[in-house]
């Protein structure tokens, strides 16, 4: 079997996920090889469409790093995002894509270690799952 390195698209909320990513980078923590970070002002900015488009455009897994509930700077952005992830997962079931390919992970600004650990675990999980068969060539 060829060495498949899963592509992960990580949407990072600028209030939590992105600072956590910066912290992980400063501490030189391990990151998956094929990682694309997309910073957003609030996880509430992430449209359901973007979650699917990321998969369609080549991602094997999509992760959203969002603030903990109650901690959203814009009150309910992360709550809206949660509903959208639920909707996207329903669509993924209908297409036949595995649920593990989309996940929300809650972080705070100082979660550099959690950020790195979660991504590495996700990469391992996706490696076992195999490539996303729905992505356009």
């Amino acid at each position: 079997m060829s060495t498949f390195e899963p592509k992960i698209v990580a949407f990072c909320c600028e209030q939590s996920g992105f600072p956590a990513a910066e912290m992980a980078k400063t501490l030189k923590l391990k990151m998956p090889d094929n990682l694309e970070l997309v910073p957003v002002p609030c996880s509430g900015r992430i449209e359901t469409l973007y979650l699917l488009k990321a998969l369609e455009s080549g991602a094997d897994g999509v992760v959203v790093f969002a603030c903990y509930e109650e901690n959203c700077k814009y009150m309910q952005g992360n709550v809206r995002l949660k509903s959208r992830v639920g909707y996207a997962k329903q669509i993924m079931t209908k297409i036949g894509l595995e649920q593990e390919r989309l996940e929300i992970f809650h972080v705070a600004t100082n979660s550099g270690v959690k950020f790195s650990e979660f991504l590495m675990q996700k990469a391992d999980q996706l490696r076992l799952l195999g490539p996303n068969l729905g992505k356009m060539a």
Binding site: E47, T48, L49, L52, K53, L55, E56, I91, K94, I95, G96, L97, L133, G134, K135, M136, A137
Partner: protein, 223 residues
């Protein structure tokens, strides 16, 4: 306005099985407002369809276009160039839009992507309820602004029936009994006495669609 719901995904896949290049046509009006069609939901459906077809090794090319509405001839014409380049059209507009396109493009398959459900009201964000069934002869003046045709399971004109219980309908327990609502509202309007007036049976064959599809003409507007 018109409320609709996206058709089951498997059904849409079945319609599109013989094709490999289609247009997904949205509508910027009613289906946008109820989040069933329109640009956002259309794009979502297109993305899902592409991935589903990619997965089974039969890629499907989807062009996306969302005219402001699909029920006027001009809006349908806006799509003619694009339609010329595809094999079929999946329209996520209401049944009217699908048929408008069908009439203008007799050589192209136009598939419905949503089930047009009812004319309804937004009761809360994301929750829509049936309010009107276009009977063609509105009796809301007699029923304190609550329609028994659309909201009574039995379409009673002089209800309630014996099954009305605690303000709920015996057919669907979660549904409010329309005649309870009519009673309550008549009371708050000080018009309970109106309920003693018998509302005659509707002339379904004359006023409504029982003698075929209806037509409205305004002679003064005709060009």
């Amino acid at each position: 306005m018109i409320k609709a719901e996206q058709k089951p995904f498997e059904e849409i896949l079945e319609y599109l099985a013989p094709y490999n290049k289609i247009l997904l046509s949205g509508c910027g009006a009613c289906v946008t407002v109820c989040h069933a069609g329109g640009e956002k939901e259309g794009a979502l459906l297109a993305s899902a369809l592409r991935m589903a077809r990619q997965k089974i090794g039969k890629p499907l090319e989807i062009l996306e276009s969302t005219p402001a509405r699909q029920c006027e001839p001009e809006f349908a014409q806006e799509l003619s160039d694009t339609i010329g380049r595809v094999q079929a059209v999946l329209s996520v507009s209401c049944g009217v839009g699908v048929q408008t396109l069908a009439r203008h493009f007799p050589e192209t398959q136009i598939f419905p992507g949503v089930n047009t459900s009812f004319m309804g009201e937004t009761v809360a964000h994301g929750v829509w309820e049936e309010r009107c069934q276009a009977c063609g002869d509105c009796i809301l003046e007699k029923t304190a602004g609550v329609c028994p045709i659309a909201r009574c399971a039995k379409q009673l004109l002089n209800g309630p029936c014996g099954g009305s219980s605690n303000g709920k309908c015996e057919i669907k327990r979660e549904t409010d009994c329309a005649w309870q609502l009519i009673f309550d509202r008549s009371k708050s309007l000080g018009q309970l006495h109106r309920l003693t007036e018998i509302i005659p049976a509707k002339q379904w064959g004359v006023q409504s669609r029982d003698s075929g599809p209806r037509r409205i003409v305004r002679e003064d507007l005709k060009v």
